[in-house]
Amino acid sequence: MTPHPTPALISRYAAGDTVLDDATTWAMEAHLESCADCRALLADAVDPSTRDLLNRVAEGIDTGIATGPGPKRHRRLRRTGVTARVLPWLLTAATLMLMAVLFERTFVSMPSLVLLIAPMVPLLPVAAAWSRRLDPAWELMATTPRTGLWLLLRRTLAVLLAVVPVLAVAGWGTGHSPALWLLPSLGFTAGTLALGGLVGVDRAALTLAVIWSVAVVAPSLASRQLPAVLSGDSWPGWAAITVALVAVVFLRAGEYRRLGVDRT
C-alpha cells in the first residue's frame, strides 16, 4: 500500500485546491480507493454543503432501491415451450403402451403387441419436438444459430429419457428381453432423425410408423406370429442398424440447420 497522505494534503484535496499537481492527486486517489481510514479523514475535511449533497444523493438512491421493483428472480431452467408441445404426445405414447400391455395380458395367444408397437412409441414425441406445424415460432427458430443437429439431439434425448422408462415398465411387466424392445425403438428413432434430414423429422416419423405398421404389425397380427425381425436372436441386426443410422445423422449434420418451408 502507498504511504498515507498527510491530513493537510487531504484537506487541500477536499477543498479542490488547484495548486496540487496531477501526480500527487493521482497517487492520493489511488490510495484513497484502498484505504478506509484516509477516506474517513477526507469525509471530515469536505465542507458541510458538499457533505449534505452527498448525503442527499445517497438517501435518494437508497429510497429508490427500497421502493423500486426488486431484481427479477433468476430461473435456473429457461422456459422453452418444448415440454408443453411434447407432453400431450408423450402421454399418448404412454397410453398406447399401457393398452398394449393390457391387450397382451388378455389375449395370450396373440403375438406380443408390446414388442410390435415399442419401435413406434418414441416417434410421436420426437416428431412433436421438431415439427414446424406444432411450433408457432418456427420461422424465428429457423433463423437462429442454435437450430441444428445438437438442439435436435438434445430434444431427442429428453424424449428418450421420458419414453424409455415407460417401455421398461411395459417390457418388464410382460417379461420380454430389453434387447427386443429397447434396440428396435432406438433404431427407429435414429432412422427418423436420419430420414428427417431429407424430408423433415415429423414426415420421417410418420413414414416410418406407417411402413412398420403395414409391413410388420398388420401381417403378424393376421398370422398370429411374431415376425422374425423381433425374434430372440435379431438384436445384433438392430444394434448394427442403429449404429449405422446414427453415423448417417452425424455425416449429414449440416442438413438440420435449415427448417425451411419445403421441409419441416
Binding site: 420461422e139 433463423t143 435449415r258
Partner: protein, 273 residues
C-alpha cells in the same frame, strides 16, 4: 474496486477487426422458391449500412426474399452472401445467424410466455453469452417501449404490442443485419414515429431492410429504397431520388407515391414489350 470493473467490457479482437466484405447483403441472379413457384427470380441486390426500404406490389416476392435473407429458405439458384459469408450452402449458417435479427410477416409466438421469457429464449437460441442475456433482454424491451409490460403474458398483449415484442426479439443481439417484414402493421401513429427513430438508430452502424406496403414509411425512415416486382429488382436509389421519378400524371398523393407508381408502370411496360 469492483465498481470500476463492472463499467468496463472486454472488447474482443473480432469486434474491432475491420470488415472484410463490401456489402452486408450481396445477391447475384438469386432464385428462391415459394412452393413450386420461383417467387424471386434472377434478383441482383447489394445492400450496405443504412436503412433500406423494400417496396413492391403484393406478390412481388418481398416476403420470399426476406425469408431467403433470413436463411429460412435455401436459395434455388444464383449466389447469396450475407456479412461476407456464402449462405447458398449450409456451412457458414451459424456464424451469419449470430449477427442476424428477423421479424417475420406472421410473427408466431408462445401465448403463455411473458415478453421477457420469450425474448430471453430467443437470445439463448441466438447463442448470446449467458451472462449478458438478462441485460440485453431488458435493453431490447426498453428500446421498443414495452418495459411496463415485460412480465405480462404475450396472449394479453394488443397487436401493436406484439409487433413491438417481435421487434425486441429481433434486436436483442444487436444484429448487423436486421430484417423486418411489415413491422409497422398495428402500430399507432405515435408508435410509428418511435419506431422510425429506432430504425435510424440501428441504421447508423448496421444494415436494416424493412419490407412495407406503406410508401410513406419509406420516404421518412429509410435512407435507401429497393423496389422489386415479379421477383426482380426494378430500381434502387435514395428516397429523394424516388420522389423525383414521378410526374404530375402519375397516380399517388405524394411525390414518393408518384415516383413509386411511375417506376412500376415503366417496368411493367418493359416486361410486356
Amino acid at each position: 474496486m469492483t465498481n470500476g470493473e463492472i463499467m468496463m467490457r472486454t472488447v474482443s479482437v473480432a469486434e474491432t477487426a475491420p470488415t472484410t466484405y463490401a456489402w452486408t447483403v450481396y445477391a447475384e441472379k438469386l432464385q428462391v422458391r415459394a412452393g413450386r413457384h420461383l417467387a424471386v427470380n434472377g434478383l441482383d441486390l447489394a445492400l450496405g449500412t443504412g436503412v433500406h426500404g423494400l417496396l413492391g406490389p403484393n406478390g412481388a416476392g418481398k416476403t420470399t426474399l426476406m425469408r431467403a435473407l433470413a436463411t429460412v429458405l435455401k436459395p434455388a439458384g444464383g449466389r447469396l452472401s450475407l456479412l461476407g459469408e456464402d449462405v447458398t450452402g449450409n456451412a457458414d449458417l451459424p456464424n451469419v445467424r449470430r449477427s442476424l435479427g428477423y421479424l417475420p410477416q406472421h410473427f408466431g409466438f408462445y401465448p403463455r410466455f411473458t415478453v421477457r421469457e420469450f425474448v430471453e429464449y430467443m437470445a439463448w437460441l441466438k447463442e448470446m453469452p449467458q451472462a449478458v442475456i438478462p441485460g440485453a433482454v431488458q435493453r431490447a424491451i426498453e428500446r421498443v417501449g414495452l418495459a411496463d409490460r415485460a412480465d405480462s403474458r404475450m396472449k394479453t398483449l394488443s397487436g401493436g404490442m406484439l409487433r413491438r415484442a417481435g421487434i425486441a426479439q429481433a434486436i436483442v443481439n444487436d444484429p448487423e443485419l436486421l430484417l423486418l417484414d411489415e413491422p409497422t402493421v398495428g402500430l399507432d401513429p405515435e408508435q410509428r414515429l418511435d419506431f422510425r427513430e429506432l430504425l435510424r438508430e440501428i441504421g447508423v452502424d448496421g444494415c436494416v431492410l424493412v419490407s412495407t406496403h406503406l410508401v410513406e414509411d419509406v420516404a421518412v425512415a429509410c435512407t435507401d429504397v429497393v423496389l422489386v416486382n415479379e421477383g426482380r429488382l426494378v430500381w434502387q436509389g435514395t428516397a429523394g431520388e424516388l420522389a423525383q421519378q414521378g410526374g404530375a400524371s402519375d397516380a399517388g398523393d405524394s411525390a414518393t407515391e408518384r415516383g413509386y407508381s411511375a417506376l412500376l408502370r415503366a417496368h411493367r411496360g418493359q416486361v410486356s414489350a
